[in-house]
């Protein structure tokens, strides 16, 4: 029997769960097809399908889904609502499965995480395994293995990132959802510019640890978006070690529009708020980053 081919859009969730998915699905004997890295064409595809007002990251996501259509048996589109009442996701993540299922005809593979209503990640993955025709035991085992592997990889990434905090170059903490910073279309030029400017940039996402979320309440007690909580928690935790912060977001991200604004008003660290939209030319970004790093260099001396 042919292996089941599962398409994974290289966008949004992918940057959080790629390691987990890869181990889990391969252990259950599936072939995975990941859409290629974002290019201008991906965005153009996405724009044709997306609603004008959707955020850039979602437009890119839809572009990736469109690429995978008819290239696989299923496309994996999870629905992640929350990891508890005070750890919710943005409404695009809530609606994603239903948005995709109404815009495309391809068969979808999905799971739902809603811990506030007792839908845990483990349960969700067991159901996912069952949907693929695998047994419960096998699915639990695969999940636990993937979770262990994921944890190991996370720890390694964190270790590498922590080393950067000891660098002698100006240290810049980047507060950005991984699907923005790590997406080539959005983040690549920014990383290159920073490298050329000899800035040590630290990816906030990689610093996240189990206690990071608690730290966030010091900066914003009522915040209830998991991904933003984790990111701003790293500010609180490492503010002594860094010289500046780069807030990187896509237009018009709902949670970031509020959270980043609050951070900018509260923190006393030099910062730059970079908002990327479809028309952002790299020249404009370069100028802004350069002048920001100049200021940073002056204040740290």
């Amino acid at each position: 029997m042919d292996k089941i081919k599962i398409g994974i859009p290289r966008a949004l969730h992918y940057y959080y769960y790629k390691d987990l998915w890869k181990t889990f699905l391969e252990e259950l004997g599936c072939t995975i097809i990941i859409s290629p890295e974002t290019t201008n064409e991906t965005l153009e595809r996405g724009k044709k399908i997306a609603n004008d007002e959707m955020c850039l990251s979602l437009k890119i996501y839809l572009g990736h889904v469109s690429y995978l259509e008819s290239r696989c048996d299923y496309i994996l589109v999870p629905r992640i609502d929350n990891y508890g009442t005070y750890e919710q996701t943005c409404t695009n993540f809530l609606g994603l499965f239903d948005i995709v299922s109404n815009l495309f005809t391809n068969k979808l593979l999905t799971y739902n995480i809603d811990e506030a209503h007792h839908q845990t990640e483990q349960n969700a993955f067991i159901k996912l395994g069952l949907a693929l025709g695998k047994g419960k035991e096998q699915s639990i085992l695969a999940y636990q293995n993937s979770k262990q592997k994921e944890e190991k990889q996370r720890k390694q990434k964190r270790k590498n990132e922590m080393k950067k905090l000891e660098s002698n170059n100006p240290k810049l903490l980047i507060i950005s959802h991984p699907y923005n910073l790590e997406d080539p279309y959005i983040g690549k030029t920014i990383k290159e510019i920073l490298k050329n400017l000899q800035v040590e940039y630290i990816n906030g996402e990689y610093l996240i640890d189990h206690k990071t979320i608690q730290n966030s309440t010091k900066l914003s007690p009522n915040l209830y978006w998991k991904y933003n909580k984790e990111l701003i928690g790293t500010i609180e935790e490492w503010k002594q070690k860094i010289d500046g912060i780069l807030f990187l977001t896509t237009f018009p991200c709902g949670p970031d529009s509020l959270v980043n604004e609050l951070m900018i008003r509260k923190i006393k660290i030099p910062h730059l708020n970079l908002i990327i939209d479809e028309e952002s030319g790299s020249a404009g970004i370069e100028t802004r980053l350069e002048s920001f790093i100049d200021i940073l260099g002056q204040t740290t001396k």
Binding site: K47, K48, D52, E278, E279
Partner: protein, 311 residues
């Protein structure tokens, strides 16, 4: 004396007028610039039409376009309707089976989908001027080309330049950049025409099923370059009527005809004074801009009050 029906389409850039006969065929038409003053423009328009039509008595008047309400009051119109409906009615008079109307005017653009002469869906772009007539004419000035020659020049190009056209500001800076880098003028012009089409299809036309027959109208439909790229991108032939710029006026004239008014109209408005006076109301912190309209020095109506208590 023949019976005639007058339709006036007052847009922000141009003002169009037609007189139709009993069979809804065009007897006379006129096309002039609005020049920011719709009242004066309509007076000029009517003078032109009157000079051409000595033996016609007008039995119905309709107004459409962005100044439809104001001019409707001025000429005492039988029908005042929005331009979407007017365009649909005008077009189906000549193309009974038309399924799609693409319209690009001076300041806005629309798409209208029809089935059996009935509008089934439409969209309109009012926010951004990118890809409309005024954008094209400002760019032609920048490039030192007459807007009338724009289309012909575009047809000469073999390699249209890619231009970012989602927004006028970006399109303009991109255009300057491309010109500085040294691209051929006709390639830039062709690129502009192409970007108008892409921009239109991606914004106004987004998610709309464009089915044949497709009729393309509005001022920009006179631009052969834009027509070419519509054909190329939609992979079909769009129809451009010789009177494509008059469709709104024709549509509203037909609607005026349908009213079956028995009394002839007096077109003496040319001699009547018609004035508007704006003022800011200080009644509350809304500071509504109130527009008061006077005909023959008599106050007839006022617009703009949010609370409805002030006139």
């Amino acid at each position: 004396m023949k019976k005639g029906y007058l339709g006036i389409d007052i847009g922000s850039i141009s003002t169009k007028g037609v007189i139709l006969d009993e069979n809804n065929q065009i007897l006379e038409s006129s096309y002039i610039w609005t020049e920011g003053n719709p009242i004066e423009a309509v007076k000029r328009l009517l003078k032109e039409l009157q000079n051409k039509t000595k033996d016609i008595t007008i039995y119905g008047i309709g107004t459409t376009g962005s100044a439809r309400k104001l001019i409707g009051l001025m000429v005492d119109a039988d029908v005042v309707k929005n331009e979407i409906t007017a365009h649909a009615i005008g077009t189906t008079q000549f193309y009974k089976n038309a399924r799609t109307i693409l319209e690009i005017g001076g300041q806005d653009s629309k798409i209208i989908l029809l089935k059996d002469g009935i509008i089934t869906d439409y969209a309109m772009n009012t926010l951004c001027a990118a890809g409309t007539g005024s954008f094209l004419s400002s760019q032609s000035k920048r490039l030192g080309v007459e807007i009338e020659d724009f289309g012909t020049l575009a047809l000469k190009s073999k390699n249209p330049v890619k231009i970012a056209a989602r927004c006028t500001v970006f399109a303009e800076s991109d255009l300057i950049h491309k010109a500085q880098v040294g691209y051929q003028k006709e390639d830039i012009i062709a690129g502009l025409c192409r970007s108008v089409v892409l921009n239109y299809l991606n914004n106004v036309g987004k998610g709309k099923k464009i089915e044949e027959p497709i009729v393309f109208q509005g001022g920009v439909s006179k631009n052969k370059g834009v027509v070419k790229y519509f054909n190329e991108i939609l992979k079909t032939e769009v129809i451009v009527d010789p009177n494509s710029h008059l469709m709104g006026a024709i549509g509203i004239a037909i609607m005026a005809h349908q009213k079956q008014s028995k009394t002839p109209k007096n077109l003496k408005i040319l001699d009547i004074s018609f004035e508007t006076k704006g003022r800011e109301c200080e009644g509350c912190s809304n500071h509504c801009e109130i527009l008061r309209i006077y005909k023959d020095h008599k106050f007839i109506e006022s617009w703009g009050s949010k609370c409805g208590k002030v006139s």
